[in-house]
Structure formats: structure tokens, C-alpha cells
């Protein structure tokens, strides 16, 4: 069902929303006041947990539950907002931060109350220079009004907030890579356990949440957990900002009720593929999600249905691929991304991403045989579950799904490329495929 009333994007086009004056005029920072002055921290935590809000960054873990893992006691505790947003297809946090930075700041204060954190950071990808500037300005405004800093609004709670830029590395979105990067190191993920809730930033207890997750907190505190749950499904409560991109007529961010029919998002909201084309496959949750097919557009778009269909809701980014795109070209571009972004710490991920690219190139150059598809599928199986973080899996699962769902097309591509080059290894001709698969028919 479409959302009858927008929640996160309600005032998004209001001129000046990024300023504290307009934000407050529209009711902003009321929830923060309530959390600080009228509620006990346990009540705040209880409300967040009771709302059923699940993480919007990829893993879909209950936000309240994660906050409840933060140990009690008087030590420095940290809240890190994950604004690295680098999963291909995802651009929702960008919109929220650029247009409504105070909603995020308010959410961070509320999250910090729930987790008893006293130091907060927004780790924003280095490429989001505009959004970082807007956030910096908003943070300064919030400090000026005493909404950040010592004893906020005269309460017991103090919180510092720093906007920290990255410098171009997808892996810094992985929560422990983010922590190392924030500590001023290379962004290599850490072995877990210990989990960040116990030993995170500077070895202290740390709550890490995505931008959109935190932006939901003020709404939950203001309107209550029951209001939040009044839309969505039993296990996927609330609304979700979905980034739709690729072969659709109206790419963009759309706020939907979780459980909405996927086809209604792709066709109804985003306009579907261009005239005369059909959906070949789609990524339901960013490029790391196994692809689904046209028939799956009938499914409800929520965490559990996507998981049951063998994929995931992930970051809530739907990338639509139409039938003019050769599957080999898509697979190759995808694998190249993960090869580039692998941090290199684990052998299966570092080598597996590299060899997957090489094997896909071989297919394209007419140097492969259908048996190579089994080798490639095998490489994917050997990555899954054998790495420190899930970046390796994030390539292996979608590539595996493509081989499984489009095997005949892979085989035909292998055959065609071989014939085009007389069945000889291409490099023996000293040239390359004249028809690059990348340039799919316009």
C-alpha cells in the first residue's frame, strides 16, 4: 500500500528546512525535549525497542535491541552515525542529510539518550562535501541553542557531536571498518567478536546506526511506538525511503510503507522501464542483494519477504535492469566494483573478487567454456562465510544469483564470443571483442 501520509519525507521540500528556525517551527526538537525532560532513558530505549524499528543501513537489526546491548556504567560511550552511503544504488541518506539535517541531529541526541552515549560522530563519505557542509552548519546551530554540548536543556545528559569525513572507500561503511577509519587508520574491518557494543570506537562501548534509522527516532518518541507500527508488516514496521534507480523512467527516492508490492514501487512510483522494454531483473537492496526476476515484482517489499525470496531488503535501494542489458556486462561491472573496494585483508575476498572479474572478462573475450561457469559459481561458494566481513559475500551472492537465474544467457554469450573470434583465444588475434558488451543497445 502506498503511504497515506509521508513521515520521514513529510516536509522535505519545505524551503529552509535545513535551518534550525524552520525545522523548529515545523515541530522539530519537540521529541528531543520529551526524551530529555519528560522520559527516563529506559523509557526512551523501551519505546525504540517496542516500535520494531529495524536498521536501515543493510543488516536490518532491531535498533532498540542494539542500543540495549550497550553496557551500563560511567565510561565514555559512543554513538556513530553511519553516513558512508556507498552501496551502489543507495542515495536516501544524501537526501535526508541535505534537506533535513536537524532531523538527524535530533535522532542522534535521542539515540544517545537511549544508549547513554556522551560522544557522537557522523561518519560521512568524503564525496558528500555539500551534505557535510550542511551538517556542519546545522551542528553549529544546535550547539548554539544548547541542543548539543554540556547538560542539554539543563538535563543530566551531555553530548558532543563531530562531523567526520571519509575519503573514498566503500568498506568504511562496514561498521568496524568505519571505526578504524574514524580512529585515523586504514579502514580494514575488525574481527568480531568483540562487537562494537562492547568494544568499538577507542575500545569503548559504541552504538552504530544508519542515518535513516536515527532519523526515525524523533518520530517514534513524538508519536509513540504504536503509531510507528501502525504501518508496515508485523516484522517490518514503519515506512522506508526507497532509492529506485537504473532502467526506470523516474529514478528517485520514494517513501513507502514496508510491505508494499514491489511492482507498485517499480512501475507505479518509478514509472517502470522505458517504452518497449521489460524488467529483466532487479536488485531489491543495493548491488549486494541477489537479483530477483520480473515475477518477483509481485512480492511485498519488506525484510522477511525479500529474505524468503532468497535476497534481502538491504539498504532499500532498488536497481532495475531491463532486457537490453546483457547479464555478462552487468555481472562484470558489479564484480569490478567489489574488486576495487575489497580491502584485501582476507584471501577469499581479495582473490575471489579478482578472479571473478578475470573469468567474466574471459567469457566476454571468447576465451571461456561453459565449464568455467561452474568454476565461477564455485569461487562464489568459497567466498561466502569465509571472510572477516560480508563484502566478499556481497559480490558472491548477486553473482551467484545471476549464474543461477541466467545460466542459458551466460552460455550463449560464451558461445557467441567464441564464434566471433573463430573459436580461438581472442588474445591470439591481438585484439578484443569488437562489440563491447558494456555498450548495450540504446
Amino acid at each position: 500500500m502506498a503511504l497515506s501520509e509521508l513521515r520521514l519525507l513529510k516536509n522535505i521540500n519545505e524551503p529552509g528546512l535545513a535551518t534550525i528556525e524552520v525545522y523548529e517551527k515545523l515541530g522539530g526538537y519537540r521529541a528531543m525535549r520529551k526524551a530529555l525532560l519528560e522520559m527516563e532513558p529506559e523509557e526512551v530505549l523501551h519505546e525504540l525497542e517496542g516500535s520494531g524499528l529495524r536498521g536501515r543501513g543493510g543488516a536490518g537489526f532491531s535498533m532498540g535491541k542494539k542500543a540495549s546491548f550497550i553496557p551500563k556504567g560511567r565510561m565514555d560511550k559512543y554513538l556513530c552515525c553511519n553516513a558512508d552511503e556507498s552501496e551502489p544504488g543507495t542515495f536516501k541518506d544524501r537526501l535526508l542529510m541535505q534537506k533535513n539535517p536537524h532531523l538527524l541531529i535530533e535522532g542522534i541526541v535521542i539515540g544517545a539518550v537511549a544508549a547513554d552515549a556522551n560522544k557522537a560522530f557522523i561518519y560521512i563519505r568524503g564525496e558528500y562535501e555539500l551534505q557535510a557542509e550542511i551538517l556542519e552548519r546545522a551542528v553549529a546551530e544546535a550547539y548554539d541553542r544548547g541542543y548539543l554540548g554540556d547538560r542539554i536543556l539543563g538535563s543530566e545528559h551531555s553530548l558532543s557531536l563531530v562531523v567526520h569525513p571519509g575519503a573514498g572507500a566503500y568498506i568504511c561503511g562496514e561498521e568496524t571498518g568505519l571505526l578504524d577509519s574514524l580512529e585515523g587508520k586504514r579502514g580494514n574491518p575488525r574481527l568480531k567478536p568483540p562487537f562494537p557494543a562492547n568494544q568499538g570506537l577507542y575500545q569503548g562501548p559504541t552504538l552504530i546506526n544508519n542515518v535513516e534509522t536515527l532519523c526515525n527516532a524523533p518520530l517514534i518518541i513524538e508519536h509513540g511506538a504504536d503509531w510507528f507500527k501502525s504501518v508496515g508488516t508485523e516484522k517490518s514496521a514503519g515506512s522506508k525511503v526507497v532509492s529506485v534507480s537504473g532502467d526506470v523512467r523516474r529514478p528517485g527516492n520514494y517513501e513507502i510503507e514496508l510491505g508494499m508490492r514491489a511492482g507498485d514501487i517499480v512501475y507505479g512510483l518509478a514509472g517502470g522501464p522505458p517504452e518497449g522494454r521489460r524488467v529483466k531483473c532487479w536488485f531489491p537492496g543495493g548491488s549486494s542483494a541477489p537479483v530477483l526476476t520480473e515475477a518477483d515484482l509481485d512480492l511485498g517489499y519488506d525484510f522477511e519477504t525479500m529474505a524468503e525470496a532468497g535476497s534481502m531488503l538491504g539498504s532499500g535501494a532498488i536497481i532495475v535492469v531491463d532486457d537490453s542489458m546483457p547479464i555478462v556486462s552487468l555481472a562484470l561491472r558489479l564484480a569490478e566494483f567489489y574488486r576495487h573496494e575489497s580491502c584485501g585483508k582476507c584471501t577469499p575476498c581479495r582473490e575471489g573478487t579478482n578472479w571473478t572479474v578475470k573469468m567474466l572478462e574471459r567469457i566476454d573475450y571468447g576465451e571461456a567454456t561453459p565449464a568455467d561457469l561452474d568454476v565461477m559459481a564455485d569461487v562464489q561458494t568459497n567466498i561466502i562465510g569465509n571472510c572477516l566481513c560480508v563484502l566478499g559475500d556481497s559480490m558472491a551472492m548477486p553473482i551467484g544469483s545471476m549464474i543461477e537465474k541466467f545460466r542459458p544467457e551466460f552460455e550463449a554469450h560464451i558461445e557467441e564470443a567464441r564464434l566471433r573470434h573463430g573459436g580461438l583465444p581472442l588474445r591470439a588475434h591481438g585484439g578484443r571483442a569488437d562489440e563491447a558488451v558494456g555498450s548495450h543497445a540504446a
Binding site: L9, N13, S86, P88, G89, T90, F91, D93, R94, L95, Q98, K119, R125, G126, E127, Y128, E129, L130, H164, P165, G166, A167, G168, A169, Y170, L182, E183, G184, K185, R186, Y202, S243, S245, G246, D247, R249, R250, P251, G252, N253, F283, S287, A317, I319, M325, S329, L330, L332, R333, L334, E336, F337, H340, E341, D364, R432, A436, V437, G438, S439
Partner: protein, 206 residues
């Protein structure tokens, strides 16, 4: 994608041999090295923001790169002196991140997204057109580079020109982009995400 052989190395410099004869550089002494005042003040401000001063490494390298044009040995030595860390430590950080350059690639940066969603709408053609126009026009001091998803797939195909997100682009935009960089003008007025009147062509919110 058969052109992928021609892509630049995914990790430039990975195959550069280390000079094993050289002694490791020590933390430079602030008394023996000149650091521009502005840069020093900025790095000191950055260090004060964190419980551990090393957290300032990335923003400090950004600041040094903005001043020097790249993370040159001189730039790294200056940051190292103020932060009281070894140059090797900062080099290990700089070499991890795509936006930090240990080679003088140019002061201007054109990142053309050719990642998954942009690939679906022919981003490679846009990249090729810009790269070609840049070379035809002899555009100097500018890095034109393919980039992974810039978080703006609603604007696809798109590029970040010195941090300004522009899109949707067409190969025919290339000459204007190159001209504007050459002349120090803002590229594609009205078509940047930061522009107050920016709208997606189909009317969506961005």
C-alpha cells in the same frame, strides 16, 4: 566492458617497490620544518575534536591536499610534524583512500560515476566523452577518473566536478564541462544538486 583492460590500476602504486635501503623517516620536528600557519591551525583544531589525535588523520590529509594539490612528501611531512606521527603512518592512510592522492594528479577532480546504476544508462559514454574532450582541449591540472557509486543514481549518469554533483549528463555535455573547468567557471549552472532550482527532469525530489 571489454575496455576494462585499459582501466587504471585499481590500487595505483601497489606495485611500486619499497626502498629497503632507506632508513624509516622519523616523526618530523616542528622546529625544523615550515608548516603554513593556516594548515597548522586547522590541523590543531581538527585534533582537538577527538579523544585521540590520530582520528584527525583523514581530515588533516584533506586539508593538506587542498593546500598542496596532492599528498606530496612535503604535505605529508607537514601533517606528520603537527600530528606527531610518522610520515609512513600517514602514507599508509593516504594510500587506502581513493580521494587522497600520493601522486600529482591535478588540483581539479572530475569523478565520473560508472558504477552499477549509472552503467545501466551508458555512463561509460559520458566518461569517454569527457576524457576525450579533456585531452583534445589540453585540459591541465585536472584528474578525470571513473568513480564508483557517488550516491546520486537518481541523477544518473552523473559526475562530481570538484565536489559539485551534476546530472543527468549526456556525452554532448563534455565540451562545456571541460571549458568551464578551463575558465574557472561553475560547470552546468542549474544542473547541480546544490543549485536552489535543481529538479530532476521528471520532477522528482533530489
Amino acid at each position: 566492458m571489454s575496455e576494462s583492460d585499459e582501466r587504471p590500476l585499481t590500487a595505483p602504486g601497489w606495485d611500486r617497490p619499497a626502498d629497503l635501503e632507506k632508513d624509516p623517516a622519523l616523526t618530523p620536528d616542528l622546529a625544523e620544518i615550515t608548516v603554513p600557519d593556516e594548515l597548522r591551525t586547522e590541523i590543531e583544531r581538527l585534533m582537538s575534536l577527538y579523544p585521540d589525535r590520530r582520528s584527525a588523520a583523514i581530515p588533516a590529509l584533506h586539508a593538506a591536499q587542498a593546500l598542496h594539490g596532492w599528498c606530496s612528501p612535503e604535505a605529508i611531512a607537514q601533517v606528520a610534524a603537527v600530528m606527531r606521527v610518522t610520515p609512513a603512518y600517514l602514507s599508509s592512510v593516504a594510500s587506502f583512500y581513493d580521494m587522497l592522492n600520493e601522486q600529482p594528479v591535478g588540483r581539479h577532480h572530475v569523478y565520473v560515476c560508472t558504477s552499477v546504476a549509472c552503467h545501466l544508462v551508458h555512463a561509460k559514454r559520458v566518461y569517454d566523452a569527457i576524457a576525450e574532450a579533456a585531452s583534445d582541449e589540453g585540459l591541465e591540472d585536472t584528474e578525470v577518473r571513473e568513480w564508483e557509486c557517488l550516491g546520486a543514481c537518481d541523477m544518473a549518469p552523473m559526475a562530481s566536478i570538484d565536489g559539485r554533483f551534476v546530472g543527468p549528463l549526456d556525452p554532448s555535455d563534455a565540451p562545456e564541462i571541460v571549458e568551464s573547468i578551463k575558465e574557472g567557471r561553475q560547470p552546468l549552472p542549474g544542473r547541480g544538486l546544490e543549485d536552489s532550482d535543481y529538479r530532476l527532469p521528471w520532477g522528482g525530489t533530489a
